[in-house]
C-alpha cells in the first residue's frame, strides 16, 4: 500500500481535474457531530463561530475527512429573510414559521443584505477562521441553498408547489429576489475563504418536480445563479434523484453533483463521462445501524463503481451525516478509505463491483 503523498487540497483538486490522486478524497460532511466533540447542545454549538471552527478542526482530525464544512444549518439562510430556527436535541435545526405567509407577500419582498445579517456573519467568521488555520491545504466548503429550493423554507413546501404551478409571475419575482441573495451569499463565503460552494437544490431533483418543469424553472435559475458565483460549485440534490437530469444539471456549469443513495454510482459514472465530478453516495440513514464491516463494504462498493480515473469524492448522499451515526462507523469509513482508496485501485475489477450483503 502506498503512503499518501498529497494534502487534502491537492488530492481534491486532482480528483476534480479528472485525474487519479494518491487516494480517494473523503468529504465526510459532519456538522452536528461537532457539538458532540465539544460536549455542547446543538443550539449552543451553533451559537458561536468559535465552536464550529473548533468542532470542524477536531472532526477532520478524528475522521480524516478531506474538507472542512462551514455549513451550520439550512434555516440560517431563512433567518436572513426574517424566519426563525427551531433547535432539536438530536437532529438538524429546522425552520420555524415561514417568513412568507401569503403569496402576495412576495410582491413587497426585500432582499436581505448579507453583510448586515448577524447569523450569516457568524458563518463568514467561521470560514475566515478556518482559512487562517489551514490556508490552502484543506478545501473549505461553503453552502448556499439554491434560489429554486429556498422557498420551501421561506413559504412552506405545499404553498411553494402551488406557487410554481399556479402563479408563474409571482414565482419569477421570487426567483429574482432569491437569485440576488444566493449570488451575494455564495460570493461572500468565497471572499471569506471558502474554496467551493455546495449549491443545495433538492427541489430540482426528479424526486420532487418533473424534468420538463425543472427545465423551464430551476435549471434556468441555476444557470443564471451559478454563472455569477465566483468559484466552483457542487450541486447537491440532498438525497433526491438526478440521473434523468444529468445533462440539464451539467448545463448549469456546476463542477460536482451529489449522488443519491437511490441511484447507481456506476450509471452516473458512465453518464458523467468526465464532464462532471461525482460526490456520494453512502446512505446516511442506513449508516446509523451499520457495523464497521458494513461501512467498509459500502465504501469499497462506492470506490469500485466510481473512483477509477478520478472525478470522484466519497461522501454521504444527503450532504449531512445524521446525529445518530456512531463514531465507530465514521472511523470505519475513514479506515476503509485508507485501506481501499489508494490509487491505482488495482483491486478494483473491470467489471461492476457487487453490492454488499
Amino acid at each position: 500500500m502506498n503512503t499518501p503523498t498529497m494534502n487534502s487540497m491537492q488530492r481534491t483538486l486532482t480528483a476534480l481535474g479528472q485525474k487519479e490522486p494518491d487516494q480517494v478524497p473523503l468529504f465526510l460532511l459532519t456538522t452536528l457531530h461537532g457539538a458532540k466533540e465539544l460536549n455542547l447542545t446543538i443550539e449552543d454549538y451553533f451559537s458561536r463561530a468559535e465552536h464550529v471552527v473548533e468542532g470542524q478542526m477536531r472532526l477532520r482530525q478524528k475522521y480524516r475527512s478531506d474538507c472542512l464544512y462551514a455549513f451550520f444549518h439550512a434555516s440560517i439562510e431563512t433567518e436572513a429573510w426574517g424566519g426563525t430556527t427551531i433547535f432539536l436535541p438530536d437532529g438538524p435545526p429546522l425552520c420555524g414559521a415561514p417568513a412568507i405567509q401569503r403569496p402576495q407577500d412576495i410582491d413587497t419582498l426585500q432582499v436581505p443584505q448579507v453583510v448586515t445579517c448577524a447569523p450569516l456573519a457568524k458563518v463568514l467568521a467561521t470560514i475566515r477562521a478556518l482559512k487562517q488555520r489551514v490556508g490552502d491545504t484543506v478545501p473549505i466548503v461553503g453552502v448556499a441553498i439554491s434560489p429554486f429550493s429556498l422557498p420551501v423554507m421561506q413559504m412552506g413546501f405545499h404553498a411553494y408547489l402551488e406557487l410554481i404551478y399556479e402563479q408563474p409571475e409571482r414565482f419569477e419575482k421570487l426567483m429574482q429576489a432569491n437569485e440576488a441573495f444566493t449570488v451575494a451569499w455564495a460570493n461572500a463565503q468565497l471572499e471569506a475563504g471558502a474554496t467551493a460552494i455546495c449549491y443545495f437544490d433538492p427541489v430540482a431533483s426528479s424526486t420532487i418536480v418533473p424534468r420538463e418543469l425543472y427545465q423551464r424553472t430551476g435549471m434556468r435559475v441555476a444557470q443564471r445563479t451559478i454563472s455569477q458565483i465566483k468559484g466552483p460549485t457542487a450541486t447537491h440534490l440532498a438525497s433526491g434523484r438526478g440521473l434523468g437530469l444529468a445533462e440539464d444539471i451539467m448545463s448549469t456549469g456546476t463542477a460536482v453533483i451529489g449522488v443519491s443513495a437511490q441511484e447507481d454510482l456506476a450509471q452516473w459514472k458512465q453518464i458523467a463521462a468526465g464532464r462532471i465530478n461525482l460526490l456520494g453516495n453512502l446512505n446516511g440513514v442506513e449508516m446509523r445501524r451499520w457495523t464497521p464491516q458494513q461501512a467498509q463494504d459500502h465504501v469499497k462498493t462506492a470506490i469500485a463503481k466510481a473512483a477509477r480515473g478520478g472525478g470522484f469524492i466519497l461522501g454521504d448522499n444527503h450532504g449531512e451525516i445524521p446525529w445518530q451515526v456512531s463514531e465507530e462507523v465514521l472511523l470505519a469509513i475513514g479506515d476503509a478509505v485508507q485501506r481501499w482508496g489508494r490509487y491505482p485501485l488495482s483491486w478494483v475489477a473491470d467489471e461492476h463491483a457487487t453490492e454488499p450483503a
Binding site: 429546522l94 424526486t207 418536480v209 418533473p210 418543469l213 440513514v285 442506513e286
Partner: protein
Amino acid sequence: MDTLIKPFREALESLDRVQAESLFQRALGQHTPLEAVEQVVVPALEQIGTAWHEGSVALSQVYMSGRFCEALVDRVLPPSDPDRKHQPRSAIVVLSDYHDLGKRIVYSVMRASGFEIFDYGRMDVDALVERVMTDRLRVLLISVLILPSALKVKEVCAQLKARGADVKVVVGGAPFLFDDQLWNEVGADAMGQSASDAVAIVERWMGEMQ
C-alpha cells in the same frame, strides 16, 4: 370505465384540470359517484403513487393530483355522504416534525379515495398517544421527514402497546424510504412507500378488522 383511467391519470400528471374534470364527468354520466371514485380516481391515484415510487413521476405531481382529486371527490361525495367508506376510525399526524407535505399528500389521497380521516396536524409523542386513546383510533398514519422523528415512532408504539390500544400504525416518509428495515425497528405495523400504498394498507386492514 377502465378506458378512462389512463387519460384521467395523464390529465392529472400534466395538471390539465379541464380534461380531468371532463373525464370525471363522463364517468359520472355512466356510474354512481362512489363507483366513479372507486373505478377511476382511486386507480389513477394508485398508478401515480406507484410511478412516484419507481421514479417516473415527481412529488409535485403526486401532491397536485391528490389535491385536485380531493376537491373533486368532496364535491360528489361530501364528508357526511353515507356512501363514504365504512371504515375504522383513522387519523394522520406529523410526528415531532415541522414538514407536513407528506401528510397533506396522504390525507388528500385518502379522502380522494373515499375515506374520512382525522387530521391531527403536528403532535409530539405524549399528546399523540393521549389523543389516540381518547379517539379510540383503530388506524394511525404517521408521517415524518427527519430521522429523529422517525425514531420517535418507537416511543409512540411502545406507549400505545403498554396502554392496550387496539390500533395499527402505518408510517411513511423519507427515512423509511432510505432504510427499509426502519419501520419494523420502530414497531410500526406497516410502511407506506407512497400515498396510494397507505390507501391499500388501510383497505387491507379494513377487511381484517371486519
